[in-house]
Amino acid sequence: MREITLSKAVNEAIAEEMRRDPTVFLLGEDVAEAGTPFKVLSGLVEEFGTERVIDTPISEPGFVGLAVGAAMTGTRPIVDLMFGDFIFLVMDQLCNQAAKTHYMSGGKLNVPMVLRTNMGATRRSAAQHSQSLHALVAHIPGLKVAMPSSAYEAKGLMKTAIRDNNPVVIFEDKLMYQDKAPVPEEEYLIPFGVANIKREGTDITLIATSSMVQVAEKAAEILEKEGISAEVIDPRTIVPLDEETLLKSVRKTSRAIVIDEGHQSYGITGEIASRLTEKAFYHLDAPVMRMGAMDVPVPFSPALEDVTVPTPEGVAANARKLCGGELIHAA
C-alpha cells in the first residue's frame, strides 16, 4: 500500500469531501495561498477557489461564530484553528453556541461543522503554542472529539467528521504532520466511537491517544523483550468513547495505563481510568494508572520541555511496576 504523510491525508480527506459535497467549505487564517503554516491545506485553493477556501482576518471568535451560523443554514464549514492553544479564544462560540444549539432548540437546529486544530509539545514553541487541550472540549456535551494517531486515522476520521451533523473538533498532533503511514487509494471512512486495537497483548493494556499511541507501541516493544505482553489500544475518538473495547481488554489483561498528552490533572486519563475502575473493578490486579503531561505550562527550553510528556521508557517503567505488583503495595 502507498504511504503518505498525515498532512497529505488530511488534505486528501478535505479535497475528496469538497468534491463530493458543494456545501463543504474551509475558512481560517492563512488557509488559502499559504495553505496554513504547516502547509496541510496546500493546493486546495487552486482547485476550489477563494469562495470555498476562505482566508479570514486574525479573529478566531469571529470566524468560528460565522461557521456556526453558516452550519445552521445549509452549509458544512471546516474551520482551521491555526494552533490548539487558540481554542481558549473561541470557547463561547464553540461551547455555548455550537455545542448547545441542537439541544436548546429541541433538536430543530443542527450545527454540522468541523473545527480542525492541533496539539502536541516538544516542538520548542513554548507555553502558548504547545498545549493539548482536547479534554476541555471533551467535557462539553454536544461536541464530538477525534484524535487521529496516524495518517490513516487522520483521513478516515476527517471524512467522517465532515459528514457528521454535529460540531466535531479534531486535534492533529503538529509533530506528526510529516509522519507517513499506509493509506489506501480507495475511499474509506472510520466511524466514530470505534477503538482500534493496535497490538494485542495479555499482561497489561496501554490505552493511548494521538502521538501517545506511538509512545505506547514503543513501550510495548521494550516490554516484549522483558517478557511482558502489552496490548495497545487507540480510542481514536474520545467523544464518543468506545468504552466496551477498552473494558474488554482490561478484563483480559487486568492492568491498564492511560496515556495522553493533555495535562494529567482533570484530564482524559483520569476520566478513562475512572470508567475502567468503576466497570471492571473485580477484574483488576492493579490500580489503573494515568500518564498525562506534567501539570506545568509547557516550558521553552528543550532540557525542560522533553520531561513534561510521557516517553516510551516512562511508560515501560510504570508497566513493569504494575506487572510486578509494586504499586499495589505502595498504594
Partner: protein
Amino acid sequence: MSKTNTEDYLRMYTQMVRIRAFEDNANQLYLSAKMPGLTHMYSGQEAVAVGICEALTPEDKITSTHRGHGHCVAKGANFREMFCELLGKEEGYCRGKGGSMHIADQGNGNLGANAIVGGSMGIATGAAMSAKMQKNGRVAVCFFGDGATAQGLWYEVMNMAALWGLPVIYACENNGYSEYTKTEEIAAGSITARAEAFGIESFEVDGQDVLAVNQLTQKLVERCRKGEGPFFMNLKTYRYHGHHVGDINRDYYRAKDEEAEWKTTRDPITNFGKWLESEKIVTTDELVEINEKIRKEAEDAVAYALDAKYPDVSEVDMHVYAA
C-alpha cells in the same frame, strides 16, 4: 390609502399589540410564580421587531437576544408554542429545553434567542455568509442591544461582513441601558461611528416609529439582496420594564419620571394607533376590537400552556447529538 398598505399597516399594528399582550401575560406568569426562572420583557420596543421583521420573508434569518420574545412573535411564531416553551412544556418550540432565553423557531427563520450578550453576532453573519455562498438571496438580521456593542465579537464580524459584502443587517436596539447601567456611562464615542469605521453604511432611526423602521428596513433588505450589504441600524428605543422581570426597584439607575415620559408620549403602539385613526385607516372601535381579540388569544394560549404536559423525563438526554 391603498388596500395593500392598509393591510400592511394593520398587520404591523396587530403584531405590535401581540408582542405587548404576550409580554403582559409572561410578566403575570412570573409575578404569580407560575413560570420557572426569569424572563426579559420586550415591552416598549415593539416597533423595532415589527418594523424590521415585516420587511423580511420567512426564509430570511434573524438572530435574537435574551430580550427576544418580540423578535419571535414578529417573525411569525404562535403564542401557544411560545408560552409552552416559557413554561418548559413538551409542546414548546424547543420542547421545553430552551426556555425564554433560547426560543428558536427555525420554521419562520428565527435561529434563536441567545443568553450570551452579543453571542449571536457570529451566527447572524455566518447565516449571511451561507446565503451568499448558496446564492439564495436571503438576508440575515442580527438583533442586539446597545449593551452588546461593548463585545469584541461585533467588531470582528463587522470587519468580515464588510470585507466580503455579506447580506446582513446589524440592528442595534438602543434602549439606553446595559442591564443595570446607563449605556452612556460605559460606551465611549459614537456607536454608529464604530460601524461606519468599517465602511458599513449606517443609519439612525426612531425605534418607536414602526413605519420609519419598516421603510428603512425594506430599502436595506432590497439592497442586501442586490449584494450591497452589510448595513447597520441604530434604533433608539426604550424598555418599559427592568433588565428582567425581577428588576422592580430600579430607581438607583433609572428615574420613574423618565419611564413615565416614554410610556405616555412615545409608546409605539399608542402613537401608531392614533396615526391609523387620524389617517382614517381604522376607527377607534376597530382598534379596540383588535386589542380585545389579541387579549383573548393570549389568555387562551396561557391557559393551554398551563395545562400542557411537561416533557417525559426520558427526553433529558435526547437531542444532545443530532443523528
